[in-house]
């Protein structure tokens, strides 16, 4: 294991985060806080409780997930796309490191950022809305697992993209809609029965439901199912990355 190399990539990526702290940390924290203020405090006071939880508190796990997903994807995809775009990838490819080590460096850094961001968002939310965490260990597990899984997903996008538009395409056209429709703002039990079925095809439902369960001990789908679905998505991403490394797809001519 080339530990020096993993550390070099990891530190390089983290340094990039601190250099762009306004864009990479502050911006998502502020925009999520705006949701807390608008939907939580302003409108939320007029909304009914969901599953015995105040609406303002109810939306916190979902909104945190929303940021976690989008930021994991954008961090990881940008992290690997930039060296491909600028040509500096030559150095990583010519270094005495394996693909696993490349992955640990880039995805490890992207996931770390997301976990830091998620934590800051949850702490900020506390300033607006009182909430409890029923299962803290599970909460951390879901947070870390989601950050890792979607950083892997972002890594795939960063390899697949051959232009900046494509980098934005999946996050804006696929992930954000799925997250909004995945129960960030409502329990899927509030939907008409037909939509309740359809919505189960949305993988984000399971993430949000599981994460919310770790807070309020109430969920749309069982925690076991949520956890399993997250692992399935993780395995899927790993399989695709395995294939990319094996074939050199858009990575190595």
């Amino acid at each position: 294991m080339n530990v020096h190399a993993i550390r070099a990539i990891y530190m390089f990526e983290m340094a990039r985060t601190w250099r762009t702290v306004v864009q990479s940390i502050l911006a998502p924290v502020i925009s999520t806080s705006l949701y807390f203020v608008v939907f939580g405090s302003a409108i939320g006071s007029r909304m009914a409780e969901v599953d015995g939880v105040k609406y303002a508190a109810f939306i916190i796990p979902g909104l945190t997930m929303l940021s976690l997903l989008t930021e994991s994807i954008s961090n990881a995809s940008f992290g690997i796309y930039m060296p491909r775009f600028s040509g500096t990838i030559y150095e990583v490819l010519s270094a005495p490191i394996s693909f696993v080590e490349i992955l640990l460096g880039y995805v490890g850094a992207a996931a770390s950022k997301s976990v830091i961001l998620g934590t800051i968002i949850l702490l900020t939310a506390r300033a607006f809305v009182p909430y409890e965490i029923a299962h803290p260990v599970w909460m951390v597990a879901f947070l870390v697992l989601t950050a890792v899984t979607f950083s892997l997903f972002g890594f795939i996008i960063g390899i697949w993209a051959d232009g900046f538009e494509k980098l934005q395409l999946v996050p804006t056209l696929v992930v954000t809609p799925l997250t909004f429709l995945g129960g960030s703002f409502y329990s899927i039990r509030m939907l008409p029965p037909a939509w309740q079925k359809i919505t189960l095809f949305n993988p984000v439902v399971y993430l949000i439901s599981g994460f919310r369960w770790s807070f309020y001990d109430a969920s749309d789908v069982s925690v076991g199912t949520s956890f399993a679905m997250t692992l399935v998505f993780l395995a899927l991403c790993l399989a695709v990355i395995g294939w990319i490394f094996k074939t050199g797809y858009r990575f190595k001519a």
């Binding site: 020096h4 190399a5 070099a8 530190m11 500096t88 030559y90 010519s94 005495p96 050199g248 001519a253």
Partner: protein
């Protein structure tokens, strides 16, 4: 442990077909000797960068094997790559990093523990020390190329690849670069450089390999190659037309143009270095005046044509 006489790089039957179907390398065999400066000479698109990229692990070979210091570059890539430093043809650098951090990054990437003294030494030798805290973005093109060299040297490689190190580089930096290459060689580093310029290969290399259309046409000691290849022409535009070439000039094998206003002398750059002076002296003695004088060297293209014809 590989012995000292074993080639430091050995390329066997190396073939590269890109996904587009293009055959960039065709059954290349090549051996680089330990401690030499080897120049790989060839026109645009010959396959120089492809060959280097495969040896360095950036491009996958289609067929064939490469060993670096005895280690197979695929099955034993960690040991092979740790020995190699690469300065790429393109100026691909980070932008917002400082010189210091990008060079330290390279060292870590190649698995070496932090060593500020070594990084400082490299930066000083490349006259980058004053710029160590500057963002790369703010450096000139020549400086950026030095940064790429510093990155390649950060992990103390045994083998250094320089892919067109002097393209777009001014005279001073070129001279610095040549001096650096020589001093590296003195410490035992093997250097492989690519170039379009015969003069550069001539100045620098111990041996020269010529590649064209994905095939190595020849590999020779520099002296032997210059003997074969280096042709010069002396072109004289005369004040007054000549009817025919005077007897006294017969020994120089000159050619006279139809209008009698131009004399051309073709000779070996290496073997007949004093020929220009002799021709001019003879002209002066005969009272033949000229209004213009040009010399030109055979271009790489002409040399390739010669070589290919010679092989056919």
């Amino acid at each position: 442990m590989p012995s000292a006489t074993e080639p430091i790089i050995s390329v066997k039957d190396l073939t590269k077909t890109y996904a587009s179907g293009f055959h960039a390398l065709k059954k290349v065999d090549l051996e680089i000797r330990r401690g030499e400066i080897f120049a790989l000479l060839g026109p645009n698109g010959a396959g120089k960068t492809t060959l280097i990229s495969i040896i360095c692990g950036i491009v996958n070979p289609t067929r064939g094997t490469v060993r670096a210091d005895g280690h197979d570059i695929v099955t034993d890539f960690r040991l092979a790559r740790a020995k190699i430093g690469l300065v790429p043809q393109e100026l691909s650098t980070d932008m917002f990093e400082t010189v210091w951090s990008t060079v330290s990054f390279s060292r870590g990437l190649f698995g070496k523990p932090k060593n500020n003294a070594h990084v400082e030494k490299v930066l000083r030798e490349l006259s980058l020390w004053e710029k160590k805290d500057s963002k790369i973005l703010t450096l000139s093109g020549g400086m950026k190329r030095r940064v790429l060299i510093a990155k390649a040297l950060s992990h103390e490689p045994q083998i250094l690849f320089l892919d067109e190190p002097t393209a777009g580089v001014d005279v001073e930096l070129r001279r610095d670069m040549w001096a650096m290459v020589r001093s590296l060689r003195a410490t035992g580093v093997t250097i492989i450089l690519t170039t379009h310029y015969i003069e550069e290969a001539e100045q620098m290399a111990d041996r020269i390999g010529v590649i064209n259309k994905g095939e190595i046409i020849l590999v020779e000691e520099k002296a032997a190659l210059m003997e074969k290849l280096g042709k010069k022409q002396l072109i004289l535009k005369l004040q007054r037309p000549l009817e025919k070439i005077p007897e006294a000039l017969a020994q120089f094998a000159l050619e006279l143009s139809k209008d009698g206003l131009q004399l051309v002398s073709t000779f070996h750059a290496e073997r007949e270095q004093s020929k220009i002076a002799s021709v001019l002296r003879a002209l002066a003695e005969l009272g033949i005046e000229f209004k213009d004088l040009q010399t030109r060297e055979s271009s790489l293209e002409e040399i390739f044509v010669d070589l290919v014809r010679a092989r056919a």
